[in-house]
Subunit: 80 residues, 5 copies
C-alpha cells in the first residue's frame, strides 16, 4: 500500500497571536465582572461613587496587566 | 529502526473559520447576558421599558461589533 | 546538522467529531441555565407551572437546534 | 527558493488523554455548582439536610457518568 | 498534479507549557470565586472574619494544589 500526499497547506502566522488571544480571555471577562458589579454597586449606594470607582480602577489595573504581559511575552520567549 | 508513514490525511478549510468561531463565543455569551438581565430588569420595573431597551441595544451593538470584526479580519490578514 | 524523524503517529478521526463536540458545549450549558432557572421559578410560583414549562421548552428548542446543526454540518461542508 | 526543515519534534502521547481532559471540564464545573448550591441550601434550611443530600448525590451521579464515559471511550473508538 | 511544500515552520516549545496553562485556568477561576464570595461574606458578617478567612485558605489550598500538580507533571510523564 502506498500513500500519496498532495498537500497545499498555506498557513502563515505566529503562535504569539494565539498566545495573546488566550491571555486576553481572562482579563476581558474579569474586567467585565469588575465594572458590571461596580455598576450594580453604584445603583445600590450612589453616595459611595468615589470609593467604588477607585476600587474598580485598582482591579482593572491588576486584570489588564495580565493581558499586557501576554502582549510582550512572544518577543521574550526564544524562537530559535 | 525505520519508520513507515502511511498518511491519508484529508483536511480542507481555512483558519478564518476557526477564528470567526472563536470571535463569536464571547459576543454570543455577552449578548445573552445583556438581554437576560434586561428581561429580569423589565420584570422588576416594567415602566422603564424604553430606557431598558435602549440600553440593551447599545450593549448589543458593542458586543456584536467584536464578532463582525472577526468576520472580516481573515480577508485582511496576509496569507502569503 | 542533520535531523532524523522517527514518526509513528497513528491518528484516526474526522474533524466533524471535534466540530460537533464544540457545537454541543454552548447548548449544553444554555439548556442547563434554562431548566435550572426554570426550576427556581417553579419553586417561587408553583401556580405558573404551565407557563414556565412552555417557556422552557421554547428556549430548549432554540438551544438544541444549534447542536443539531453542528451534527449535520460535517456532511455538508465539502471535504475534497 | 529551497526550504530546509530541521525538525526535532518529540511528541509522545495519546489523544485519549486530551479527550478525557476535555470530558472532565464540564462535570467538574457541574458537580461544583451542585454542591456549592447544596451548601447554600443547607444554610437556608438545615432541617432539609437529608433531602438536599439525596438530591446532590443524584445530580453528582449524572454528572460523574459523563466524565467516566470519557474515561473509557478512548479504548472503544477504533485506532487503526 | 504535483505539490511543492515550501515550509519554513519555526515552532519551539514544550507541550508542558500548554499543559500547565490549561491546568491553571480552573484553579485561577476557582480561587477567584472563593475569595470573591469570601469578601461578600465578610461584608455580611464582619464578626465572622476568622472563620471566613480559615475557610478561604482551606479552599485556596485545595484549588492551588491542582495547578501545582500541573506544574510538575510535565517532568513526570515520559517523553521518549
Amino acid at each position: 500500500m502506498s500513500a500519496v500526499n498532495l498537500a497545499a497547506t498555506q498557513i502563515l502566522g505566529n503562535l504569539g497571536s494565539i498566545g495573546y488571544g488566550l491571555a486576553a480571555i481572562g482579563p476581558g471577562v474579569g474586567i467585565g465582572i469588575i465594572f458590571g458589579n461596580g455598576t450594580q454597586a453604584l445603583a445600590r449606594q450612589p453616595e459611595a461613587a468615589g470609593l467604588i470607582r477607585a476600587n474598580q480602577i485598582l482591579g482593572f489595573a491588576f486584570c489588564e496587566a495580565l493581558a499586557l504581559i501576554g502582549l510582550v511575552m512572544p518577543f521574550v520567549y526564544p524562537t530559535s
